[in-house]
């Protein structure tokens, strides 16, 4: 089980409070976590990564274990602490706009 924390606007859109628990088939990576998240919450499609290209939106970042892992390869395994549910996978709306 992966624990995911969304930014406020996406929690509102997905109608969830706090963390989301999702199950990932196979190794936990950025891609598999986002695939599972969008399957469970289809209203999030297009709001974290683009339709079609699956490219991360410019002002979205991903954090795990207090580290910014946004630029890590999307198919790399996530830290064991995230894969085991000990730590959260955090989707963050980057500070932007001044």
């Amino acid at each position: 089980m992966i624990r995911v924390v969304l930014p406020q606007h996406l929690r509102t859109l997905a109608r969830v409070d706090g963390e989301i628990d999702i199950t990932v088939a196979g190794p936990a990576t950025q891609r598999t976590v986002l695939d599972a998240l969008e399957t469970s919450y289809p209203m999030l499609r297009g709001t974290i990564r683009d339709h079609g290209t699956a490219k991360r939106r410019d002002f979205i970042r991903f954090f795990a274990c207090g580290q910014d892992i946004t630029l890590e390869p999307i198919d790399d395994p996530l830290p064991e602490e995230v894969a085991s549910g000990k730590e959260v996978f955090r989707v963050v709306g980057a500070m932007a706009g001044g």
């Binding site: 606007h9 709001t47 339709h51 980057a94």
Partner: protein, 371 residues
């Protein structure tokens, strides 16, 4: 008793303003989708409880919301707007070619006879249609694929398709307007399109009367006379009496013929409203006086409507989709400002009151007349 519902889109959420037919006591509800830009909300003419809303932020992109109960409850529907085929390029500000990229929905136009059919005018300019209540969207690619498409250039606000007018007697005939490409019409339901800009003059262009490239800000129509169109262009107020085939300037005695919104009285097809602003470089009312101008002669002769509007120190703007009329008698007129005020007139503009004063900057106002 009949009533009015105003759907107000703002920089930080949507608001719903309702009143009975007297239109002197309003209930303000919102914000819906707090913190998101609500570019536009509009209801179906055949099912007034079916509403569509364009919701977006720079972080999370485009979301489309739908309500089936007049705005009490909303559900996100489809938000995938894929250009058909290889998107190609259009002209960028510097004259180079730039890939077409979807940015947002500027305007949602529900069908006149089917609540599940709705059109979306988007940036970069294209027209999409959904026939399943917003769940899926298909581009009407003949528009963007017009031979002039690669020459279309964005206005200061982006390359946006912001106006969609469906002919009330012939749904195959649709007029759209794009900043800064101009006006286009289809007579076959969106398969093929022709530019309809003859008579427009834009001194910003090397060839002032070229086929495309005009910065059309807004077009309005009274459905009882659908071939008469009124246009607020970057500069100039124009009219057409042949469905857009040709245009004549009707700016007349306006203090400035630069502006964004334009609308037509619900029962008097020759009564037109605009809100002039100073210039292309100063988007504020002339002399700090917020004045709606009304022509009862279809243009040329305009009168200032000031009663109830601030006549000093007022420097707000009214954006292109932020003025509308209801269908009551006498007809009501409404507009919202970038300062967050929504003004209403229950008497065709003779006098105005602020329905609400301190909303976020208003992007759009749509009036629904309720039974």
């Amino acid at each position: 008793m009949s009533g009015v519902r105003l759907l107000v889109g703002t920089r930080k959420g949507g608001f719903v303003l309702t009143s009975d037919g007297k239109r002197d006591d309003w209930k303000v509800e919102g914000p819906l989708f707090a913190g998101w830009e609500i570019f536009h909300m509009k209801g179906s003419p055949v099912d007034q409880d079916r509403l569509y809303a364009s919701q977006s932020t720079g972080w999370h992109g485009q979301v489309v919301q739908r309500s089936d109960d007049g705005g009490k409850n909303w559900e996100p529907v489809g938000n995938e707007f894929a250009y058909e085929g290889v998107p190609g390029t259009h002209q960028w500000y510097d004259g180079t070619q730039h890939p077409w990229e979807f940015a947002r929905i500027w305007h949602l136009e529900p069908s006149l006879n089917d609540p599940d059919t709705v059109y979306a005018g988007v940036e970069d300019a294209a027209l999409f249609r959904s026939v399943d209540g917003g769940h899926t969207w298909q581009e009407l690619a003949g528009l963007r694929g017009h031979k002039t498409g690669e020459h279309w250039q964005p206005g200061a606000g982006g390359l946006c398709l912001h106006t969609i007018l469906i002919h009330p007697d012939d749904p195959q005939r649709i007029v759209v307007a794009i900043s800064a490409a101009g006006t286009f019409r289809t007579d076959d339901g969106g398969e093929t399109w022709q530019p309809i800009n003859r008579g427009l003059r834009s001194r910003e262009l090397p060839d002032e009367e070229r086929e495309v490239g005009h910065c059309v800000h807004r077009i309005a129509m009274n459905t009882s006379r659908p071939d008469t169109l009124f246009m607020q262009k970057h500069w100039h107020v124009m009219r057409s009496d042949d469905g857009g085939d040709s245009w004549q300037k009707v700016s007349g005695n306006l203090p400035s013929d630069f502006g964004f919104p334009i609308t037509v009285h619900p029962h008097e097809p020759e009564t037109v409203y605009v809100v002039p602003i100073e210039s292309d470089s100063e988007h504020v009312p002339p002399e700090g006086k917020l004045r709606v101008y009304r022509s009862k002669e279809g243009g040329n002769e305009w009168e200032a409507l000031t009663k109830g509007l601030p006549q000093e120190h007022c420097y707000v703007n009214v954006l292109r989709d932020a003025m509308d009329v209801d269908d009551l008698d006498p007809g009501g007129v409404y507009f919202g400002t970038t300062g967050g005020q929504v003004y209403g007139s229950p008497n065709g503009g003779d006098s105005w009151t602020a329905i609400v004063r301190d909303l976020p900057a208003v992007l759009s106002v749509e009036a629904q007349t309720l039974p």
